[in-house]
Subunit: 151 residues, 2 copies
C-alpha cells in the first residue's frame, strides 16, 4: 500500500534548530513530519512559494539537467523510516523505461515540487511514524500552522 | 581565453559567516575566491575529502540522475562576474551533442568534483576579480591555508 502525500507546511523547530516539513495524506489525514536542514527547507520553500531566484538554485539545476535529456520525474516515494531517518526514491522516466534512484526525502520533495510530480509514502513509513512520539509534537501545533500550502 | 582552475582550499570566513572556496590557475597562479554558503561548502568538502554520506547528498543524487540517462559532465565554466556574483555553466554531453546549462558556481563545482570534470574560468572573470579588493583579503591568509586540497 502506498499513500499520496501533500506538503501541508514547513515550520521552524527552535528546539532542534531545524525545519519540519509536514506531509499529509488527505484521504486518511495521516501526517508525516520530516526534519530537514536550513538549505533543504529553503529549497522546498522556494518551490512552494513559486519564487524564482536570480540564479538557479540547486534543484532548479537538477530539473534543467533532466529537461535537457528529456527525462521526467514520474514520482517520488518515501520508502523507509529507520532510526528516525527517512529514505526515498526518485522514479525517473527515461525513454521507455522507469528507473528508481536513491535520494534523501528533502531532495526528492524539492525536485517533485519543481516537476509537479506526485509524492508518495509507503504504508510502513506512515505506520512506523505513527508509533513514534512525533505525533505528540504535532498535536501541540495550532491548526492554522497547517494548510499554509496547497499543492 | 579560458583557464583551467583547481580547487585549492575551502576556508571559513568569520567576517561574512560564509565559506570561501579558493580556485587557482596553476599556470598563471591566478586565484579566484568564491564565497559560498554552508550547504554549498559542505557539498564541496564532502567531494574533496571523498567522504561518502550514508544517504546520497544533493549533488550525489544529481550525479546518479545523470549516470542513469548516460549523460556526462564535460566541464564546468565560470563565465561571468557581475556585482560580486559569479555565474557558471555546466557543459553536458548527451548522445552526440553538448548542452550548456546555467548554474551557480557552487553547484557546478560540487558536480564537477563528483564527476571528475575539469573546472574552467573565462579570462574576463579572472581579470575582473583581479580588479576587486578580494586579493587583499587573500594576501592576509597564511600560505598553509592553501594547498590543503590537491585535485
Amino acid at each position: 500500500m502506498i499513500s499520496q502525500m501533500k506538503v501541508r507546511g514547513l515550520m521552524f523547530d527552535p528546539y532542534n534548530n531545524a525545519y519540519i516539513l509536514v506531509l499529509r495524506d488527505d484521504d486518511s489525514s495521516d501526517m508525516l513530519p520530516i526534519w530537514v536542514g536550513k538549505a533543504e527547507a529553503s529549497a522546498i520553500s522556494f518551490a512552494l512559494e513559486g519564487v524564482s531566484a536570480p540564479r538557479p538554485m540547486t534543484h532548479d539545476l537538477m530539473k534543467s539537467l533532466l529537461d535537457t535529456v528529456d527525462a521526467k520525474v514520474i514520482s517520488v516515494v518515501l520508502t523507509e523510516l529507520k532510526d528516525n531517518t527517512y529514505y526515498a526514491k526518485v522514479h525517473l522516466g527515461y525513454e521507455d523505461s522507469e528507473y528508481s534512484i536513491d535520494s534523501r526525502p528533502s531532495d526528492a520533495i524539492a525536485l517533485a515540487l519543481r516537476t509537479s510530480a506526485p509524492i508518495f509514502a509507503r504504508e510502513e513509513v506512515l505506520r512506523k511514524q505513527g508509533a513514534d512520539e512525533l505525533g505528540q509534537w504535532l498535536e501541540n501545533l495550532k491548526p492554522e500552522d497547517f494548510g499554509k500550502y496547497d499543492t
